[in-house]
């Protein structure tokens, strides 16, 4: 796979994510209203937008932490159609498929969500061993490799509570990478960090982008999104306001609220 940095996703490239007409409601609140999204393999997509616009919800629909009420999803060769049966229940997913999908899509959370009872190494080996059935030896080798990659190899025997936020987030990234996923999801990976810790995490993510990994990230780091993304999606009250290259969204957009939202980053 060639990494096509900053290239416009071409129609011929295969898609890692194809979401069509997703609708997600919480009771009466329609958080996603007909959202469609395409993420080509090997590309980086950033989702930006105001607080409450549905960014996290959209991201969490991509690994089914939230289950859409309507729409279609094709992710990493798993195709799912959400619908209602005559009783009105949401249908369109079985447990097996759910676990298969989640084994191919890794997520990095805003609050890291490391498991405090495992060491750094244990956190990284756990999912490969339990979910993919790797031997401890192979899982350890993978973990060492990715911990090295994020610069946390020397902390392998520490417990998460003894690490700084930036270090915990880097371990969380290694944990996600050790699943060798087809798709990486980041939900505001730097929002919970002290300002001086932000860059160490962003530089790891930038390195992953440069490797041509397929990633979708929700972020408030506008300069970073602009710099690292192949595609930027401005989400506005549950619909895609603008989607396109960073240039399209940050400079050429006619969308009033989008211009307003990105203005501080542009000037």
């Amino acid at each position: 796979m060639t990494s096509s940095l900053h290239a416009t996703p071409s129609a011929s490239s295969t898609l890692a994510v194809e979401a069509r007409h997703l609708v997600k409601r919480y009771g009466d609140l329609e958080v996603l209203r007909d959202v469609s999204l395409e993420v080509p393999e090997g590309s980086v997509t950033s989702i930006i937008g105001a607080s409450g616009s549905g960014k996290s919800t959209l991201l969490r629909c991509l690994n089914l932490l939230e289950r859409p009420n309507l729409g279609e999803l094709a992710i990493a060769d798993e195709a799912i159609r959400f619908d209602r049966n005559p009783q009105g229940d949401v249908v369109g997913l079985d447990r097996r498929q759910l676990q298969r999908l989640r084994a191919k899509v890794s997520m990095v959370f805003q609050q890291f969500n490391l498991w405090p009872h495992f060491t750094v190494l244990g956190n990284v080996t756990e999912a490969p061993m339990r979910v993919k059935g790797l031997s401890r030896r192979r899982a350890n080798a993978l973990a060492e490799h990715y911990l090295e990659r994020v610069g946390m190899a020397d902390k392998r025997d520490s417990y998460p509570a003894y690490l700084s936020g930036g270090q915990q987030q880097r371990v969380a990234i290694a944990r996600a990478l050790a699943m060798e996923p087809r798709l990486l999801l980041f939900d505001e990976p730097t929002s919970a960090l002290d300002p001086e810790r932000v860059s160490e995490v962003l530089s790891v993510i930038r390195g992953l982008a440069d490797e041509g990994r397929t990633m979708v990230l929700v972020t408030h780091e506008m300069a970073f999104a602009r710099d690292v993304s192949d595609q930027v999606v401005f989400l506005d009250r549950g619909v895609v306001g603008v989607a396109g290259t960073p240039q399209d969204v940050f400079e050429d957009s006619e969308h009033e609220r989008c211009r307003h939202f990105v203005a501080p980053a542009v000037c």
């Binding site: 989640r102 009872h117 979910v131």
Partner: protein, 237 residues
């Protein structure tokens, strides 16, 4: 009957130690089974399936509402009657007296399970949601999530309550003496009655119970340090 009055602590040391050992056996077994019942009960209490929730709630509420002494007597007689009926139904003659050890373990485990259900339920609810969400996001099976994440994550919250239940259980084994099973307390009663050295034997019993609880408190403290190994010590200040 002159020899009786010359009996002393030493003559009874053997039976008393035997009784103490039996008490420990009953307590350990009842605790282990109670723990399993508690895990099942807590999972059922937290299940999305309403009938299961209802059943578990009924169990923990009813058992905790009735005095244990009464439960022991009830279950003992109900149990032997049920078994006798069963054996008659199979066409065999005879009466069944349930083995005292089995009754003791069964009844205490049943009661423990109810209290344990509540302790574990609270501890599971106290797990930060993000840790479980991470397990879900990585595609853990229900079982892997339960034994690799839920159990170790809830243990630090659960252990103080679990340790408390263990202490209560050790003391509750004395209730088993009402069905005439010779655990520690029953043996002590016999010794006291036979020698008339009431204070001596009851004081000895107290000392033995104290020894058991102190030892186990120390063990629980070590266990708690272990399950909190990932958490920085909070005793600065």
């Amino acid at each position: 009957m002159n020899t009786v009055s010359q009996e002393g602590l030493l003559d009874w040391a053997g039976p008393i130690l035997q009784g103490a050992l039996t008490t420990l056996e009953i307590a350990v077994l009842a605790y282990a089974i109670g723990l399993v019942l508690g895990l099942i009960g807590a999972s059922a209490r937290l299940s999305p399936w309403a009938p299961l929730r209802g059943l578990a709630t009924a169990y923990s509420t009813a058992v905790r509402a009735v005095p244990e002494l009464l439960l022991i007597i009830l279950l003992y007689y109900a149990g032997s009657q049920a078994l006798t009926a069963l054996i008659h139904a199979m066409g065999l003659p005879g009466q069944v007296a349930i083995n005292g050890f089995v009754t003791a373990v069964g009844v205490l485990a049943f009661v423990q399970g109810a209290y344990m259900t509540e302790v574990l339920r609270g501890a599971i609810l106290a797990i930060p949601k993000g840790q479980l969400e991470a397990a879900d996001a990585f595609g853990f099976s229900t079982w892997a999530r339960f034994h690799r994440i839920v159990i170790p994550a809830m243990l630090p919250n659960a252990l103080p309550g679990m340790s408390n239940l263990w202490l209560i259980l050790i003391k509750d084994t004395a209730l088993i003496s009402v069905i005439g099973f010779s655990e520690l307390f029953f043996t002590i009663q016999q010794a006291a009655a036979s020698t008339r050295a009431h204070f001596l034997f009851y004081a000895a019993a107290g000392a033995i119970y104290l020894l058991m609880t102190l030892t186990s408190t120390a063990l629980f403290a070590r266990l708690e340090r272990y399950v909190r190994r990932g958490q920085p010590a909070q005793e600065e200040a």
